[in-house]
Amino acid sequence: MNEMVDMMVEFGGMGLANPVFTASGTCGYADELAEFMDVNALGGFVTKSVTLKPRKGNLRPRIVETNAGMLNAIGLANVGLEKFIEEKLPVLRGRSAAVFVNVAGERIEEYVAVVERLANEEPIAGFELNISCPNVKRGGITFGTDAGQVKEITSAVKKASGGKCLMVKLTPNVTDISVTAKAAVEGGADALSLVNTFTAMVIDIESRKCVLANRTGGLSGPAIRPIAVYMVNKVYTEVAKDAGVPILGGGGIRTASDAIEFMIAGASAVSVGTASFIEPGCAVKIIEGIKKYCERHDISKVSELVGTLK
């Protein structure tokens, strides 16, 4: 690879080796992927959602394929905070990619408790708040669809984060994503991550039942990419650019071209999710592809691409 392209990006107060992340819940804790790519070549790595208590997750089936996409309803299955610290953090310690811990919960206090406990742990570079979970206190409406709640949870967690980068992951299931993005920024978010999955449903017409045990699931994959690109561009132009807050953009990224599309739309970095299931090494291939594109277009710093949509 040509060393002339500077692949470094500034992101929420830190410098990343390159702009490519793996997305929460799609790449385990990185060691599973070591067989397929050089995990240390990644710019960033986001863990599966961690909750205060362990969660077994939903009944199965938990996934179903759709046209150019898939639904998942894993149900935030994870080992819980304590076991995460014991078992998973050590594995992540050897990695050179910036590690973001994705945090989820059903009450604000749960989010705060998790972040507080992790605020001083190595090698955590920051947190990604998954606010697409149902807020049990407010009748199951997700935190992420209500600007007031987004601001409240962001600022509560911000106080607990010990100066680590706080990234808020926005749900696309809203009328105007700029409104929730703005609320997150007002709450003190250091970065925005978008998009999470779209609520969706697949019915088995023979049994007339939902395929997923959870009935609904989140749609991810190439199918959603054009909506995600639109939302990233909207948040970039309406909120993030002026606020100086970087965006981690994703949704259906499968190739370097897809990643570059998000960067042009306004993402400082990109996340690769579902595509890793099909090509477990694709995140690293995407890094190489972005580099080649920059070389071909005489772009000396990859960050020059960000938000350059004409």
Binding site: E35, R60, R62, M70, A77, F277, I278, P280
Partner: protein
């Protein structure tokens, strides 16, 4: 062909050596690996599987699509699909694997259009596979429907590794047309007990069961197994049952094994998004200290001790 240096699993390109229809809905696909793929797949254990990317294969011409799959044929294929192996052979630096598959939906429909020389992207070998039969004197293979391939693979391994072992195989399906074996009913050698060519080639006796009685024993493969166990003396301590098939059938086999205190390993199927343990989609509920826990079919399985699984 490979992406990285020497390893026991990974993403490899395989070349199609044959792809032939053996029954209206069943096909057998031969894949050839060379280089590092040959090394990695050369070590495949029965019960392990591979994830095939079939998204780029052609959709069959409309008239070649069974009517009940016409709508499914229009679905795009995004995810890889898991398949186990019916046979694995390494020679001259190449590894040949046979996949026996049933045409059920968009991916397996596309699979039928693969032809000699076509290149397929394969991730594997994945999962744990059946545990070796070390110390056992008798092995009973039970294949229900599309559970047949790993049982054929197991037959191959047992014959090679434990030539003195007493092995018998049971193959069942709804009806004679659903038996995923190339053996035609008129070829079934009832007299000798070598019913199925796929097992006979290893010198292994086999019994056939069909729910509708259109071939062999009339009843489920588990009824057939129970019937046979009732009529034959089996030393539970030196016997192991290997089973693969629909979940209900595995549950019945597990029950039979439990009653008779015979060790039993079952291979489970789950919808899989990744096949490599990162997505958590393929959970199998297992007993654990009086409680239950979820294990991953793709990583902790697909083969489980029958006693462990909550059916």
């Amino acid at each position: 062909m490979t992406e990285q240096a020497a390893k026991t699993k990974g993403k490899f390109s395989a070349s199609v050596s044959f792809n032939r229809q053996i029954k209206p809905r069943y096909w057998r696909l031969g894949l050839e690996f060379s280089g590092e793929g040959a090394v990695a797949f050369g070590g495949t254990r029965p019960g392990q599987f591979a994830e095939l990317d079939l998204s780029g294969a052609a959709v069959p011409a409309e008239k070649a699509i069974p009517e009940d799959l016409r709508d499914a044929a229009k679905r795009e294929v995004l995810l890889r699909r898991p398949f186990s192996f019916a046979k694995v052979e390494s020679k001259k630096g190449k590894t040949h694997v046979d996949i026996l598959y049933c045409v059920l939906g968009p991916a397996t429909l596309r699979m039928t259009t693969l032809g000699h020389g076509d290149v397929v992207s394969v991730i594997g070998p994945l999962g744990n596979g059946y545990k070796a039969a070390e110390g056992e004197k008798r092995a009973i293979l039970v294949a229900g429907g599309m559970g047949a391939p790993p049982m054929q693979h197991m037959a191959q391994e047992l014959t090679a590794e434990y030539p003195t072992m007493d092995v018998i195989a049971f193959g069942g399906a709804k009806s004679v047309d659903d038996l995923p074996f190339e053996t035609r009913p008129d070829q079934i050698l009832k007299e000798l007990g070598f019913y199925l060519r796929e097992f006979a080639e290893y010198g292994i006796q086999s019994m056939v069961a069909t729910d509708d009685g259109s071939a062999g024993f009339a009843g489920t493969v588990t009824d057939c197994l129970a019937d046979w166990l009732g009529r034959n003396e089996v030393n539970a301590n030196e016997t192991v049952i290997y089973a693969c098939g629909p979940e209900q059938m595995l549950a019945a086999v597990a029950e039979i094994a439990k009653e008779r205190h015979i060790d039993c390993q079952v291979s489970m199927e789950r919808l899989m998004a990744c096949g490599i343990g990162v997505c958590q989609s393929c959970v199998v509920e297992c007993k654990c200290d009086g409680d239950t826990e979820y294990k991953l079919c793709c990583k902790d399985g697909p083969v489980f001790d029958a006693k462990e699984v909550v059916f």
